[in-house]
């Protein structure tokens, strides 16, 4: 077929214009995809889950523990999330909740939460502060769930405290309030220019939020929720958006059957 078509070429027609057009089109069309394929995201370059790089910091006394499940589970899933983002709320309610009850409870998956509060959300930075403070006293899972469960309510007036207090005992709530006492400046949020936000010097949780945001820039997190899955020392490319639990479970089963 190629040779039959080539018989019709004259040197003039087979001159440079069509070639140049085709090559240019191919370059324009394929360049971003090839770049995306060849450029390895920071998350995939390393076999070490991103949360383990911060081990030195998080091992410090009082560091927030924003993880759920057994650290030795074969699969680690890191989720970059914003408490005020509707997709993150939907992802938590429809996917992560089922995953926590099923594969996290069975010791198959270790879930690591990273804060990536977006600048466009008025209260997501403050919500991250509450979650980190709760994580400092081992109450992360309950507060994490309470913030997502009431995502339609607290952004209305910014009264996050009400829902955090309902998720723990009064004594624990007092401890959390005490941690956040010095947080007076605006909370850190991710920035469009990808510069590290400034933590409030008086706020003990802000450095941990900033640390998560900077980690998110390295992935790179382009939208929330974004998650990375690690298995047997391998990191899989970051995915964004809402994935249903049956499909995520299928991916885990594929990994576990290897």
């Amino acid at each position: 077929m190629i040779s039959r078509i080539n018989q019709g070429f004259s040197p003039r027609v087979a001159s440079r214009a069509p070639w140049a057009a085709v090559i240019l089109t191919a370059l324009v069309v394929l360049a971003p995809a090839i770049t995306a394929q060849t450029a390895t995201p920071a998350s995939a370059k390393t076999a070490t889950p991103a949360h383990k790089h911060a081990a030195a910091d998080t091992a410090a006394p009082g560091a927030p523990v924003k993880t759920i499940g057994n650290r030795n589970a074969p699969i680690t899933m890191e989720v970059f999330s914003d408490y005020q983002c509707p997709s993150c709320g939907s992802f938590f309610e429809n996917t992560l909740r089922a995953m926590i009850q099923d594969y996290v409870a069975q010791g198959k998956v270790y879930l690591v939460h990273h804060d990536f509060p977006l600048q466009m959300h008025t209260y997501s930075g403050q919500a991250a502060r509450w979650a980190n403070a709760a994580a400092m006293i081992g109450q992360f899972q309950d507060v994490d769930a309470a913030l997502f469960d009431n995502q339609a309510k607290w952004p209305v007036d910014g009264d996050i405290e009400k829902y955090v207090s309902a998720a723990m005992s009064p004594a624990n709530f007092k401890r959390v309030q005490g941690i956040l006492k010095g947080c007076t400046a605006a909370p850190p949020t991710s920035k469009a220019d990808r510069t590290a936000p400034q933590p409030d010097p008086g706020c003990p949780v802000d450095p941990y939020i900033v640390q998560d945001i900077v980690l998110g820039y390295q992935v790179p997190v382009q939208a929330t929720p974004t998650f990375i899955i690690h298995y047997k020392g391998q990191s899989y490319p970051a995915s964004s958006g809402i994935i249903t639990w049956p499909i995520l479970k299928q991916f885990f089963d594929t990994l576990l059957s290897q």
């Binding site: 070429f9 070639w19 191919a26």
Partner: protein, 178 residues
């Protein structure tokens, strides 16, 4: 060379390079979806994992029910591979280019719908790691236009070859008259 001949040659050039470009794009798309997504070698297991990862990207479009996501994700990459090889072979090009145009049209429609709905997801067009945005829409729109042009050229070429006598007949006819 007459303007008609020039046009004919240009159409043939478009047909050849257009279908080769589309073939390359489809083969690359299939490769990107099937290749090992972690630092492992090619194996049946790595392909299965890659297809499961691709299923998550299909799922993120929130278009199909979960029971259809996996069949779609397991069908598309091998079909893209088949289509790429078909386009490369040039056999029954009219049908190959028509199917390519319909497939790219469907992809483009789904992508536009998803983008308009404000979903911030990975495109999944050439494997993981590429966000769906204006540039991916522009790229897929350009591919659709190219596929449409190739399909039109292939159909015109086919019609022309059915209605016009072959060039050999023009040469041999006067000889027979003599």
């Amino acid at each position: 060379m007459t303007p008609n001949e020039t046009r004919g040659n240009l159409a043939r050039t478009l047909l050849l390079f257009g279908r080769l470009a589309l073939a390359a794009i489809f083969l690359f798309a299939a490769y990107a979806k099937l290749k090992p997504q972690a630092a492992t070698g090619w194996s049946g297991s790595s392909i299965k994992t890659s297809l499961s990862l691709f299923a998550m990207q299909v799922d993120s479009y929130q278009l199909l029910p979960p029971q259809l996501v996996s069949p779609a994700a397991h069908f598309l990459p091998p079909f893209e591979l088949f289509l790429g090889l078909w386009l490369l072979s040039g056999v029954l090009l009219r049908y190959a280019s028509l199917i390519t145009t319909l497939l790219l049209g469907a992809f483009f429609a789904v992508m536009v719908r998803t983008y308009m709905a404000g979903l911030e997801i990975n495109c999944g067009c050439f494997g993981p790691g590429e966000r769906l945005g204006p540039l991916t829409l522009l790229r897929d729109g350009s591919l659709l236009a190219l596929a449409l042009a190739v399909a039109i050229a292939a159909f015109m070429q086919g019609r022309k070859s059915r209605t016009e006598p072959a060039p050999v007949a023009h040469v041999s006819a006067p000889q027979r008259a003599d």
